[in-house]
Each structure stands twice: as C-alpha cells, then as structure tokens.
Amino acid sequence: MSVWFFTCLLTAQADPLPSIPFETYKLENGLNVILSEDHSIPSVQVNIWYGVGSKDETTGLTGFAHLFEHLMFQGSENYNMDYFNALEEIGASVNGTTSFDRTNYYEGVPSNHLPLALWIESDRMGWLLPALTEEKLQNQKEVVRNERRQSYEIRPFGRVWMWLFENLYPQGHPYHVPTIGKHEDIANAQMDDVTAFFKKWYQPSNASLVICGDFNPSQAKELVQKYFAEIPNNNTPTPLMSMEPVVLKENKIVRKTDKVPYSKVWIAWLSPPLFAPGDAEMDILSTLLSEGKDSRLHKALIEEKGLAKDVAAYQYSTQLQSQYMIEATVATGKTSDEVVSAIEEVLKEFSASEEEVRVAKYNWEARFYQNLTTIARKSDMLNNYYMRTGDAGYIQKDLQRYLDVSADSIDQTFQKVILNSKRVYLHVTPEPKEAQ
C-alpha cells in the first residue's frame, strides 16, 4: 500500500502560500496600526503589543514588567473598575501576557463591540496612572506571588527555568532571571517604580495595535483615530533589541534535588536570536533530533537503550539570544548521567541528510497554515512580525527562512552552536526519602 507515498507528495501541487492580508499605518503620536479583515465569524480581535518585557526591567526589579501587566487590568481614569467587568459581560476573551521581550494585551469581542474594546484599551494606554492606588498595587503583588507559587513552586519541575537561566546568563544579564521574578523583588515594588515604568515604556510610539477579524476598515480607522490619537507621546523609548552574545566559557554541571517524582535532565546551549541566521536551522534540527518515533534521540534513548521515558529537543527563540534545550525524563532504574552520555553519543554522530531535511521543511511549512486558523493567532503573528522586524508582512520571509535551510547549513550551525559549544547540564532528582 505504499507506492503512492512517494509519488503524490512533495511534488508541486501548489497551495497558495500562507499569507495574512493587512494594511498598516501610523498615527501622529507614533502608534503603529495594523488592520486585517477576516469575516468568517462575527468576532474581532484587538491586540496590542508594547515593546517592553522583563529584559527591560531596572536592575533589582525582577518580575516588575509582569506585575505591571497585572496593574493594567485594575482600571484606568475613565473606566475605574476591573477591566474584565466591561468585557466579560459581552462574552469577550481577555488576557495579557509578559515574556522576556514584550508585553501583550488582547481581547476577542463580538464584532459590534469593537468601539468598546478600542476605547477601553486606549484608556489604559493614556490614562492608567490617575486610577492607580497603593491598595491595588499591594493586592496585585500578592496575586503575582501566588501565581509564582502556583505555576513554579508547587508544580513538579516548576523551578527548572530559574535554574537554567541563572546558569546560562551571568548576573545582571536581562535573561538571568525568568519573567516571573523573585519574591523579594516583587514584594519591594513601589508606587514610584510603577509610575516611572509606565511613563517610560507605555507610550503610543512603543506600541502596535492589531485589529483582526470582522470589521469595516474605514469605520475601524475612525475609531482608532478617535480613541488613540488624543494620547500624547511623551517620549520614544528604545527597548533593548540586541546585545553582544553571551558565550559560555566552560561546561556547567548543576545538580538539584527537589520535590519531584523522578529524575530529569536538561542540556542547554545559547543559540542564535529569533529570526537571525541559524534560528530556523535550530528548529529543523529539533525535528531531526526528537520529532517522531523514528527520530535520532527517540530511537537511541527510548527504543534502543531504554534509558529515558521521553525526550525533546527545541529552540526557545528570543530577541537577544536564544536557548536550545534537550530535556529527557530518566527511565526507572537508570541515571541521568547515563542519559547525558547517550544524548552526547547521538550528537557526536549527527549529520543531516538532504532527504530528511526536505521532509522536515515540508512539515514546518504545513505548520504555517495551522497558525492561520484563528484570528487570535493571526493577530499575535502580525504584531510579532512588526515588533521584531518592522514588517508586519514578514510571514513569507519567515517561511522562506525555513525553505532556505539545507543539510549543509544545518550541519554547520549544529557544529558551531551545539557540538563545539559549552553548555549547562541540569540534573534534577527526587529529594532523598526521610530516614525512617
């Protein structure tokens, strides 16, 4: 039954290239606006990215960008109550997220409520501070510290990211501490810090607004003008967009015990930044190393040697520099050192073939279509492309990065970034059982 496998694919039955139609312009205050129509359902997404993330925090204020994001939901001068009140009653889906590199806010609303979504977003962009109180700040500090406990502390292996990043990057580097931050810093945040942070970063010229979904463009433009144009741009901040890459000078072996049910091991490297040469190679490398039961790591660690329960290799792409990770769960009765040796054996012998690279690229291409199935995802893609590259229409160039990868370019990147580079080994094992 397998003849057709080799005939019907990879050949040119051309699908339309994945694309997101849009138009874009700037307001006088510098706010970037991107409009993208999609009338498949009567819903519209309003999505704003601010060019500030935890990498831009002042020294000693870890966790602040994220704490600030919480405060953005506490009401603003002309809508001084919980942001969710107005939006839940119309059935909107609302949230915000903060990462190393940026902060985003979004609401998916029934399309007739576009004016409300734009008004309320603009109110907090321009008039947040008059409504902020010490009480709100104190409360959200507690909420965020509980978020830290819930998402990082009581969850098995939840502390791993803190251990990895503090070892990959030196003290003081913007990526040294994960976005959630440290308890003591969150607890120390002051009202003055909040005010200064808002005034510095939450400027229209440091933001990009996407409206994606079911709307009338000329009407949307009027609304954007009406609600956002009156926000003054008081300064034009410059987020940190690049930095001399950190190079690990030696291998680090970190061993931790924690409340975990079994052992896991991570190997982490520093790798090329998002969209930089080599970034797409790292993604395709992940496919060859650990995607599917025929992948190299799966075969060697799980099938042949029975050393691991699962294994995954992935590139976590970020602005200043990225991180490449291989993580594996150690099988019962085996050790994390055995797993590390087996991974290194696979790496030592690695070399990509043209055929497998071609198939991997085909799969990455198909993923682009999947990303286009929701207006929420499309909104984030448009803003991501704009904020990182200055071109909201970067999708085809993005795809092209993957299509340009070759077995040679993978091998070269692999040698440079992985094989011949120092790395961090993190072994996490269960706490010893208490003596009976």
């Binding site: 397998s2 496998f5 694919l9 699908d15 359902i41 009567p42 819903s43 994220h66 953005m72 939901f73 001068e77 002309n78 001084n80 109550m81 919980d82 942001y83 009140n85 107005a86 839940e88 889906s93 915000g96 903060t98 990462s99 190393f100 029934p110 399309s111 007739n112 409520h113 409300l116 008004w119 321009g126 008039w127 709100k136 409360n139 507690e142 909420v143 509980n146 978020e147 406990r149 819930q150 998402s151 990082y152 502390e153 009581i154 098995p156 990211w161 009406k226 599917g292 039961k293 025929d294 099938e303 699962d310 976590y316 792409s317 198939v359 085909y362 198909a366 286009l372 199935t373 929701t374």
Partner: protein, 483 residues
Amino acid sequence: MLFSLLTLLACGPKPPPVVAAHSPSREATTRPAPLEKSSFSLPSLEKGTLQNNIPVAISKNNEVPLVYIWITFDAGGWTDPDDQIGLAKATMDMLDEGAGEYSAGALSKELRKLASSISTQATMDGASIRLQCLKKNLKPSLELLAEILQQPTFPQSVWDRKAQEYQQELARQTSDPKQIARRVWRKLLYGQEYAGRLQQSTHIESLSTTAMKQWHQTFLTPDNAQIWVGGDTSLDDILPHLEETFGQWSVESTQPFPRKPSAITLQEPTRTFVYLVDQPGVSQSVMYLGHGVGTKTDEHATPLLLANQSFGGMFTARVNMNLREDKGWTYGAWTWLSYNYYPGTWTMSSSVITKQTAAAIREVIKDIRESKSTRPLTTTEFERGRGDLLGQFPLKFEQPAYLLSRQIEISRYNLPKDWLNQYEDRISKVTLEDSQAVWNDIIDPESMFIVVVGDRSAIESDLLDLGYTVIHTDYNGQKIEKE
C-alpha cells in the same frame, strides 16, 4: 517557540469603587455604544452514511487547505475491568505503536512525509483517533489512518517499555498537589464506580497486550464508530475516499458489547467534611469543594449554569473577586459544572497560600451561604453572566473542531438533536428568579466534600477551627487510620 512556562499569563484587577468618570485629560470619557450586531448562524453539518452504515458528518471550512478526520467510538475508561484501570487509555495509546507491516518508527516517518499527524485518545466516556492533514495528502493519510485503526500490532516489546513509563506517569500524578486533589475528589464523588476507580500501580502491572487486542476487537469496530470531518473538503469529495478506506470494514463480532452501567448515584456527604492530604513544605494548598448535581438535560440545568456563571464562572464572579482581588490569597478561584454519562458535579477550586487555607475555605462557604440568603445574586452579576455565555458562543465556532466536539457530545450523551441550536434560546429565557431558586435548592454548603492538599503541620489546627471533621487520606482518598 513553545512553552507557556516562560510566557506568563496574567490577568486583572479589583471591583469598584466607581469613580465619577470625568477627566479633563481626555475627550472620549464615556463608554461607547455598540455597533450594529453582525448576524451569526451556526455552521452547518452535513451527514452521510457509508455502505457498512458508519455515519459520517462534516463541517466545511476552507480557510486553509487542511482537513481533519476524527473517528469516535462509544468506549472509554468506563469499560476498564476493575483490576485493569487504564486499559482503554493504554490500548488507544498503543494503537499507533505498530500497524500492519509498519513499526512505530515507520508510521511516524510515513506521516511526516505527508506532513500529517495522527493522534489517539481515550477519556472516561469515549475513544477517538484523529487525523490532521493537508488537503492534497488526504488519500495517503487516510490509508495510514485505516491501517492504524484496523491492523494494530500491539508489540510486546513496546508495551514492556511503556508499562514502565506509565508507572512513572502515575508517580508524577500522585506527587502533584493538583492531580492528587482531583484523584481524591473523584474518589469521594464516585466511590467504587466509574471515575472513582483510580488507577494504581498494580493495575498497570495487570495490563497486557492480549487484553488490548481484545479490547480493540470488541470496541473499535465499524458498528461502534462514527466519522467526523472538518476543514477544506465537502461531503461529495470526502465520501468516496471514506468509502474506499472504511466502507468495506467489517469485523466478526466476537462478543456482545458490554453496556455502560445504566445509572449510578453520586456519593453524598451527610454533612460537610474536610479531607486532608498531607504534602509537607508546599507553599500553597490546593482545594476542591462541592457536590453532585443533576444531569445536563434536567430542567434546572440552565438556570443552574447561569447562577454558577455569576457566582464563580467568570473572572469578575464573586469567588475570584473575593479570594484574588480582595484578599490576594490566590492567582485565581473558579467554580464550574461538569457533566458526563452520570449526574454532574458542581466544583469550586483554587490554589491558595498556605497560611490562608482555612480562611479561604471559610470565605467560600460564607460566600455560598450569603448567596442563598443575605446577598442573593444581583441583576448586574446575573446579566453579566448571561452576556458572557451568549457573547462568547459564536466565537467558539471559528474552527470546525468546536462544532464537531459539540456534535459528538450530543451523540454520546443522547442529548436532543437541536441541543446546540437551542442554546441561545435556553440561556435567553432564564430569569434571575429561576436561577436563584434553583441555586438555593441545589447548592448546599452544609453538605459538601472539601478536599485540601497541603502542608498539614501548617494548616491543620486552622482547619479544625472551622468546625468540620478533618479526615486524613492518602492520594487515593483512603482514610489513614493510624498516624
């Protein structure tokens, strides 16, 4: 790419006070009126039948050149023998570990050549195999789907390895406070039946490839199958392909289908008890609290849904406003209704800072009591809840998966055929009075199960002060008699 652990989701704020919204600094000081509402009609579902009577339903969506095929079976965790809990799940998991001439690796490789993916799953109530592929690769992808479904080999060597992995997974679940709370909760509600039958290490030891083959033969049969299609195709296009791959599929039935137990009764506490599972040193306690309610088609189900929405189903609902936005004791607190084959449950859950564990329970119980007496649901809360449910309804149909999932539910639980079409009507006609009456009647804070997973040494004396009997259990919900 990937991981949400580094992208920290976060939300908002705090209720009133509403400040008179007058600011000299902005022109647009007042909330704008909505535009004219766009019309919405449910996406349609077309139906057909294969020669061997397998029903086919399709929801078209040609936004991107992708096609989804789901085949569902009326079989799930409820079929597990008492000594082999997890058999349905393990069988579905093993399905793509080898089929016909293909090894697991070869299947993976063939699928990747097509940029297709196939996944299998079993829940308590159902089992399914799902394909996603590019439209142009539909035919070869379907062939692989058929091979996996009809010719699985259940290799012993793979199972030997997987059995170990299952033991590790069980160890993970029984060390994660949230998972422990869920296990104990299920045990308390369902006792020895249905979801109360928790998987143990010995169950995994008892699973065998022989049992899996038998389960496969019994349940994954054409007369127990339905095919659901979504995406960039049409009934006319897809039927010949399905006919070719599944139309001739027949299985000699080896034994009659075991049927689901017709009815079970949820456990009901005579008064409110606290079940405490000790996790020394944790910085938060996970709490689950609630009791059984009727079924999804009961007359009171919709009024109850609306009452729940205002009480705890939204960010701005009372429970979250109190525990998160007023007290700052948690990242979030929610209540929800959940239904399956049997009577449903009403649950409140939250992870709260250790030292406020008992206080949080006291607050929730107080909120429930007051919602039935001195502080009934307000029109504002109620209409916000209704607006939330109605407003989000159309948005859910953006991807065909949602319509298919709801249709599967209708079929699985024997709901009225127009269940989905009547949704907006049902929600619209409930009054606050209906909801409040049903709420008062059903939700009972004096007769609840409360599960707490947390640091016993730090929270027990406060829990005892609440006045409830505190019962110590292990992660299986089994009472610990001797300490």
